[in-house]
Amino acid sequence: MIGLPVLAQTRALPALGRPEILAVAAAYFVVCAAIAWWSTRRTRTAADFYVAGRGIGIWSLAIAAMAATLSGFAFIGGPGLVYALGTGAVFIVLPAALTGALSGWALARPLRLLAEVRGVMTIPAAIGARYRSPAAQGLAGIAILAAVVGYLATNLVALGLVLDALFGLGRTPAIVLGAVIVLSYTMAGGILAGIYTDLFQGAVMAIASTLVFAAVLDTGGGLAALSQTILATEPGWFGPWGTLSPVAALSFFFVFGLGTLGQPHVVHKFYMIRDPRRLRWYPLLMTGALLLTLLLYVGVGLAMKAQVLRGAVPPMASPDDATPTFLLRFASPLLAGVVFSGVAAAIMSTANSFLSIGAAALTQDLPAMRGRAPLASLAAGRVATLVVALVALGAALGSTRLIALLGVYGWGMFAATLVPALAIGLNWPGATRAGALAAILTGLVGTLALEGLAWAKLIALPSGVSIAGITMVAAILTFVGVSWLTRADAEGDVDPDVRVALGWD
């Protein structure tokens, strides 16, 4: 069975304690701390805390969105998956060339203009405003909280493993230290601190990835030489689907292509842009940065497969060893330091975004579900951030099996619960409140139930059928079907000012 991979590192890395690597990593953390301190001084209101005061420029927005999109999986787990599965593993990132423009078309303008008219600051709040439904807002908030805790827990484990490999702290202290680092700047500066650290972190990721790809080509004798080595021994690895079936590889493409439109930690950044006219350039900038950063994902897996087949290195004990082994054997210590800083950067930027949207769900969306006003103070945001972090840290320090479960359902949960009501519903006047509620419930319950059953080994799906794919299909069809059945309510389910914001009047 090939389900969704855990999108974060869950296995220990080899020790990385070389002086050059440590020096670069230490410098990286010092710069992050300085940026966080600077931006924290500018965080004064809840709007600063949750949507960066709607004052972000397009470059910061695009790079931060890229950094939040890619977790440490892009640097460690992903290249390992390419090493193990061949071309099939690339299908997880293959839609990247399209998703920036798709989210721009479907979401950028509607979300930014809803923020202008209604002052919404969270993705569930946009859903609540669209369907005139605190229940839909609250349910979407619950789905986000459930996914955030799991996703965040796996990212905290991944950050701990990187810190442990760098500084030899031991697994548990390293996980706690990583959580404290991310929590401290997120609690203090919210998403404003996150955006500016993301900008630096995204730049580190893109530079590290580009340099590693150059090293891949250099040490492997060029792309053609690497390809010929692999084709001569394992042509199936370099077939279009790698070692997967066509259906399994295509299922990855579907889930990570359409599912991107439901990732709240990425799309909520549309609220933050200062000048919405600059959204014109978002897909070009975001996609360009994303593709540069993904060079490592493809390159290292390819290089390590060829080097193993050439006998230059022994086979990997675990696919996750591909990136550390490549860096320690074939890259300069300085470059290795930059890349491991890039890994930490990728994890921290994603974790920061999760903390922010989790805190926003607690303070903005759950009160709305109970008919109460949002908790508007900065202090409430900080306390909520602490609560989300502590719950995720508790999960992160739990069993490895629990982490494996939490890691797989985050992406799928976001995709199944949010794509229909958000990406389709903000663009379809015929969608109804009942349709949105039914779709969010289908995504939430379907993901939890099916992933739980699969985790407990009570069900096993054939290769190619991913639970995330099934639940997203079920949620979209439920959304359309229930909206059609309740179509008489469609007009009344949208407030007149929301119709104006969405361009329907």
């Binding site: 792309l223 084709l231 042509p235 389709i424 299909v473 079920a474 000012d497 104006v500 009047d505």
Partner: protein
């Protein structure tokens, strides 16, 4: 609802249905080739449809149509070629990669970067997004809210 939006919504629904049927066939262990082709068609339709779903520009939707059609064609041709072309150890190299892998990695993974975000940029209508336009939008929204109350 504009015509293009209607087409977009239809494409998303049909694409999702195709995807669901492909999953059903795979769950039953039947017709893997049919399931793969259904997935290719479903993915292409759903993603192209998403491009067409967004708000219409008052200046026309030419570039939106181009963007969606580019997605449709690139995915159908790229995945179709990967399914149809023969492979193996003697597969020719294109730009240093085996032919079918090159079609996927470069044709689907890289080529649309030049095309689709550019179509988005050309389609983007910024005329009502300056400060005056946003103020007018807020005023119209407040007026609509006021009339409803």
């Amino acid at each position: 609802m504009t015509g293009l939006r209607r087409v977009g919504l239809g494409a998303v629904i049909i694409g999702t249905l195709a995807q669901g049927i492909a999953y059903l066939l795979t769950l039953r262990g039947e017709a893997p080739q049919v399931a793969a082709w259904l997935m290719v068609a479903g993915i292409a339709a759903a993603l192209a449809g998403t491009a067409w779903l967004g708000p219409a520009s008052p200046h026309g939707s030419r570039w939106r149509v181009v963007g969606g059609l580019s997605i449709l064609v690139v995915l159908l041709v790229g995945f179709g070629a990967a399914l149809l072309l023969p492979g193996g150890a003697t597969e020719p190299l294109w730009l240093g990669l085996p032919r079918r892998a090159a079609i996927l990695l470069l044709g689907i993974g890289i080529f649309p970067v030049l095309l689709v975000p550019t179509a988005y940029a050309l389609d983007f209508d910024a005329t009502d997004l300056d400060d005056a336009g946003l103020a007018a939008l807020r005023a119209r929204a407040a007026s609509a809210r006021g009339s409803a109350e």
